[in-house]
């Protein structure tokens, strides 16, 4: 019998595991970006820019300061809770299901890589893809918001004022929302047969959030993501129950907890997953 020495594959180590996750992410990224769902994600991201493009065209001159408060509300309400939510459901919810349907998942499970690391690579690829697309659209919308009023004041705000800091804050919100929604939908996609149905329930919860009591607001992701907005949104909603968002450190802990719980669910599910094969 062969002794197993001199194998071309390196022995397991922390460094190898990191390389494996990054390798899977690199392999998956082009597939994610060129997939059918990528078109839907891109379309959703473009739709998030459309209102600001129309505002620029039809000139609602409000000045950058006021526009930014509106923009923060727009990012929280429309971008995060609507477009990004749906994009994440599409991009992450079917990540494993698609491979199961293509009957190709067994190839990955027969590779000398822990199943959870393979899943981490897939998640990372989708996280990068969705974050890139929505970061670009958010930055484009932000630029249009700056420029929708007085062009000179907008440029000052953008170049010499608080613009860059606010842009970084909005990108942080987009990244955190993508990471958290993505992790939740990735886990749902492994745990339930129809993640879209479960996702729709969460969607309703996210959208009813302004009307919900604080206890139920705490069950939504956007409630915590809101803490990271660089500008406060309108404090008194037209309808609903007003409440201050949680402290940033609380949001950090809760979002980290959601990510950890989702990761644990993925590990649990993927270790028990049996890919479809003939004869089974």
């Amino acid at each position: 019998m062969r002794t197993g020495t001199g194998h071309p594959l390196p022995p397991p180590s922390a460094g190898l595991r990191l390389r494996q996750v990054l390798a899977v992410a690199r392999l998956e990224l082009p597939r994610v970006l060129l997939s059918r769902h990528a078109l839907s994600v891109t379309l959703l991201a473009l739709l998030a820019v459309l209102p600001w493009f129309l505002a620029l065209l039809f000139g609602s001159a409000k000045g950058p300061g006021r526009s930014m408060v509106e923009f923060a509300g727009f990012v929280e309400t429309v971008v995060v809770r609507f477009f990004l939510f749906i994009a994440c459901l599409l991009a992450f919810g079917g990540l494993v299901r698609r491979e199961l349907e293509q009957r190709t998942l067994h190839y990955a499970f027969l590779t000398p890589i822990r199943r959870e690391l393979y899943m981490a690579g897939k998640y990372l690829a989708s996280l990068v893809a969705v974050t890139l697309v929505f970061s670009a659209s958010t930055l484009a919308a932000l630029a249009l918001a700056y420029l929708s009023g007085d062009l000179g004041a907008g440029l000052d705000y953008l170049l010499a004022g608080p613009g860059p800091g606010q842009a970084a804050g909005f990108l942080l919100v987009v990244t955190l929302a993508t990471a958290t929604y993505g992790a939740v939908f990735f886990a749902l996609g492994l745990l339930v047969r129809r993640p879209v149905s479960a996702g729709l329930l969460l969607f309703v919860l996210e959208w009813l959030r302004p009307l919900l009591p604080v206890t139920l607001k705490r069950l939504t992701v956007s409630w915590y993501v809101k803490s990271f907005l660089p500008l406060g949104t309108q404090t008194a909603p037209v309808v609903g129950i007003a409440a201050s968002p949680p402290a940033t450190w609380v949001s950090c802990l809760v979002l980290a907890g959601v990510l950890a719980a989702s990761a644990a669910a993925v590990v649990f599910a993927v270790r028990r997953l049996e890919p479809p094969c003939p004869g089974t």
């Binding site: 000398p112 890589i113 003939p278």
Partner: protein
């Protein structure tokens, strides 16, 4: 233990059962498979693929335990470095070329691009697909897809190869080539478990066979040993000789000979006897006594198909 005798078992199944709901996949299989080529034989639905999926960790046993090279199959990080599986599933990730497909999983395992490319090309060359490796797998014929799956299974130089119906879709020439490759791989001291429902294919390359039916292991071991265990079923021997009717008549006088069928050309016959040793001794004696010229004496039913038919029909009893 099946496989080369004396060697430590590579694949060990201990009381393994697998159910799909109420449906039986395999039942209480205890098996040890050693180095060399072991054929896994049985009709569709007999449990061959279930057994292979259990060995490779794609599915988990409902009961019992599986170990391959001492590792449990649910530890891919350790086991899959040394195990390759060519599954029966004829599906591929979309958009990949042949070499891209093989490289994909070497890269995912953590190899650098150039090393992965070298290994992929080497494996693709071994299966005779070098010229087509730049083409998309979607455009491959069934036989080419079978070969590229085989290349993917051997690319990381595994010690243990599990091959589920690897000859499906191959033309006769390609079958001969791939069987030659299996022999070469076994000669490199690897363990090969090859399933097929075309019995003679496995018969001609296997050191040992495992016969399955309805989720049970019906018999295991070397083909010849297995045949000798079937003591209640007559052994059939083909004899080509001069004066065949005369020799056939003499053999019919023996107590254990149950049947003699003369060939139409009257230059040979098939004799069925319950006692192989007695038959051979009698043949020698009669040939000398009667001056018969023997052209050939061959076992007529020592192939797996015959053994399998005896076992699954219940007409034979393994000793």
């Amino acid at each position: 233990m099946t496989g080369s005798s004396g060697a430590r078992p590579v694949i060990v199944l201990d009381g393994v059962s697998r159910f799909y709901g109420d449906v039986l996949g395999i039942s209480d299989v205890t098996l040890e498979i050693g180095p060399g080529i072991t054929g896994l034989v049985g009709p569709n639905g007999s449990g061959k693929t279930t057994l292979m999926n259990l060995v490779t960790g794609l599915i988990r046993p409902s009961d019992g335990s599986v170990r391959v090279l001492g590792h449990p199959p649910d530890d891919p990080e350790l086991l899959m470095r040394r195990l390759g599986y060519c599954a029966q599933v004829d599906a591929f990730p979309p958009g990949l070329t042949g070499i891209g497909f093989v490289m994909r999983y070497l890269l995912a395992a953590g190899l650098g691009r150039s090393r992965a490319r070298d290994l992929a090309l080497r494996a693709i060359s071994r299966v005779g697909l070098a010229e087509a490796c730049g083409r998309r797998v979607a455009g491959y014929s069934k036989g080419m897809r079978q070969r590229i799956k085989l290349a993917q299974a051997i690319a990381h130089d595994p010690d243990v190869l599990i091959l589920d119906e690897p000859l499906n879709g191959l033309d006769p020439l390609a079958r001969a080539e791939i069987l030659g490759l299996f022999r070469d791989l076994a000669a490199e001291n690897r363990t090969l478990l090859i399933s097929s429902h075309i019995l003679h294919e496995v018969d001609i390359v296997s050191d040992a066979v495992v016969l399955m039916n309805d989720g049970f292991v019906v018999a295991e071991g070397a083909v010849r040993d297995m045949r000798e265990e079937l003591t209640t079923h007559p052994l059939q021997v083909l004899v080509r000789c001069s004066r065949a009717p005369r020799l056939a008549a003499r053999l019919l006088e023996l107590e254990d000979v149950v049947e003699v069928r003369i060939h139409p050309d009257r230059a040979g016959f098939v004799v069925a006897s319950r006692d192989a040793d007695a038959l051979h001794l009698a043949l020698e004696r009669i040939v000398v006594d009667d001056g018969v010229e023997i052209e050939t004496i061959l076992p007529a039913d020592e192939d797996i198909q015959a053994i399998y038919n005896y076992l699954v029909s219940g007409s034979g009893e393994a000793g």
